[in-house]
Symmetry: C2
Subunit: 338 residues, 2 copies
């Protein structure tokens, strides 16, 4: 018997949905989460795919997450849409806020969507891609847990603090999109090296004494590093400020303290921005779309890749052929239905 | 006779102002430029100090720059303020747009200032600091000239594309602020190494064949690299899109072509964003200010530096003691008054 199993995207969605609802997640939350998990699996971002169902259920069982919280929407200023997730997962809060964000961006030219008090585990590209599907330019950022040292320091202050961006492309299914952590690497990659007793490259992390280390265990006991030295460190700080202090939600240090060793999904806020090119450009809109396409061509014509190209290739493959999953992972999730 | 000369900040301003007006710059443009040059000299950013007067006058003489252009302000949407610089320098355009940006940010919560058709040479920190002095959070970005290759490529597509950010701090003269190029290093640093026949570190640039090089001359004939690998490259692309295509102005490739070998100050646009913390936070404003201060303390308490700390130390020193300049530079500028 093969150790891999093929599932259609509908089967992935259905399995995730049933495992979540069976374990107490409200139907609409489960739908929103299963949708994002299916997108992750489809794009072969395995750590954001079906595997996350296990983490979600573990987090649900920790009792910290409100499985049926009703997100509430307010609008404190014309260009600010605010959704309080009331300690539920972020996905339904995003779905709740998106139509208002789109409306205000079209009306005002620029608008912000603030999500507060949410538990957040997903990549940010599904959200900025959703913004781009409305013809808007999207940006998103969140703090996480304070595992990452500032440049020149040795103690965790920043989260892995991802930044995502999407630019809608005419006549293309997929936008120009990137989504990267401001840490040198994802924490999960260091954990994986530790489990496999493999060394990590220099530049990923410091040990507990603040010295650069290639020992993954020492790294987990120490602090991760940002990408790009002091510039990455400055960006990570910006994300703490914009997606923490500016929106009245926890910084990565507060979120880690709030978790109190449970190891649940981080609880914090998120900031998204949407820009309407039609409002910025008026009559110059078409010309500017071409300008962007020329930029992309100048990158790809010299053999360089656009961000997310591998992910989009996986997406097309998965739509045609379904996705391949380890039989043991699928079994672990089916066990949650028992 | 010492080869250095001490000038007060007023003397720096006055010298810059006279050299510019004497060479045909309109009074209000010259004032705005002299102000930014004085700030650069004060903070010991020598390449953005008095030295720039020489570059400005050379650019003026190239005939590309309109020395008396009247910036015009429009508001295509409630959260978008647009200033057309009409081929003049950027500083007066920024001064023209700032009050409207501040007003709209306070009214809408978030607002954007678009500057189009300007010649741009200054650092971005004076502008985001000016936004922060109004109690707003500021962000700014511009393209430049296409000297920087995308990650995985070997030909210039991006400019040095700086990103700046400022966060106002209560009871402090200076905000939290950073301003960095998304290239690994400033082009001027490579030029300096070439003049001094010194090797450059790996990671700064590629030669004309796309191979990593330590030869500064080969680097200038090839392409610069972004900081932080594919992440820095993605950021550089985002800045081309937001501060080029989104605002209907030239990308770095178009700006370089427009220059047509003259070597003048780059002509392009700029995007600035302002966020009003009071509108985002309401009653949580005070608590969130403390949250930000705790973040800064967590950085500095472990011996790491905040961005711009060296610059702020120079600022205090210059205010007390004036600035030291090379006698030959001052003479070169005085020669412009002949």
């Amino acid at each position: 018997m093969s150790d891999r199993i093929n599932l259609s995207l509908d089967q992935v969605y259905d399995l995730a949905l049933r495992a979540l609802t069976h374990n107490g997640m409200a139907e609409d939350h489960a739908q929103a989460i299963a949708d994002v998990i299916t997108q992750g699996q489809r794009d072969e971002c395995h750590s954001h795919g079906l595997y996350r169902v296990l983490v979600c259920v573990r987090s649900l069982r920790s009792g910290k997450i409100a499985p049926a919280a009703r997100p509430t929407l307010t609008q404190p200023a014309p260009s600010i849409v605010k959704v309080d997730a009331h300690q539920g997962y972020s996905q339904l809060a995003f779905q709740t806020g998106l139509p208002a964000l789109v409306e205000q961006a079209r009306k005002q030219g620029v608008a912000a969507l603030v999500i507060r008090n949410c538990f957040h585990f997903s990549a940010l590209w599904p959200e900025v891609e959703a913004i781009a599907r409305h013809g808007l330019v999207g940006m998103a950022m969140t703090p996480s847990h304070a595992w990452v040292a500032p440049e020149g320091g040795s103690k965790g202050v920043f989260g892995t603090n991802p930044l995502a961006f999407a630019w809608p492309r005419p006549n293309r299914e997929e936008p120009f999109v990137f989504d990267f952590a401001t840490s040198a690497i994802a924490r999960g990659d260091i954990e994986l090296h530790a489990r496999q007793q493999q060394p990590i490259p220099l530049g990923w992390a410091l040990d507990a004494e603040g010295a650069p280390t290639t020992d993954a265990h020492a790294a987990l006991a120490g602090a991760m590093q940002t990408f790009g030295g002091h510039k990455g460190s400055a960006l990570a700080a910006m994300i703490e400020l914009l997606a923490g202090a500016l929106i009245g939600d926890m910084t990565s240090a507060e979120s880690l303290a709030f978790d109190d060793g449970v190891g649940a999904t981080p609880c914090h806020g998120e900031l998204l921005l949407a820009f309407d090119p039609q409002r910025f450009l008026g009559d110059d809109f078409e010309q500017s779309q071409q300008r962007a396409e020329q930029l992309f061509a100048a990158i790809t014509d010299q053999g360089a890749r656009l961000p997310s190209q591998r992910r989009f290739a996986a997406r097309q493959r998965s739509k045609r052929e379904g996705v391949w999953l380890s039989r043991s992972l699928v079994q672990d999730i089916k066990d949650l239905l028992a």
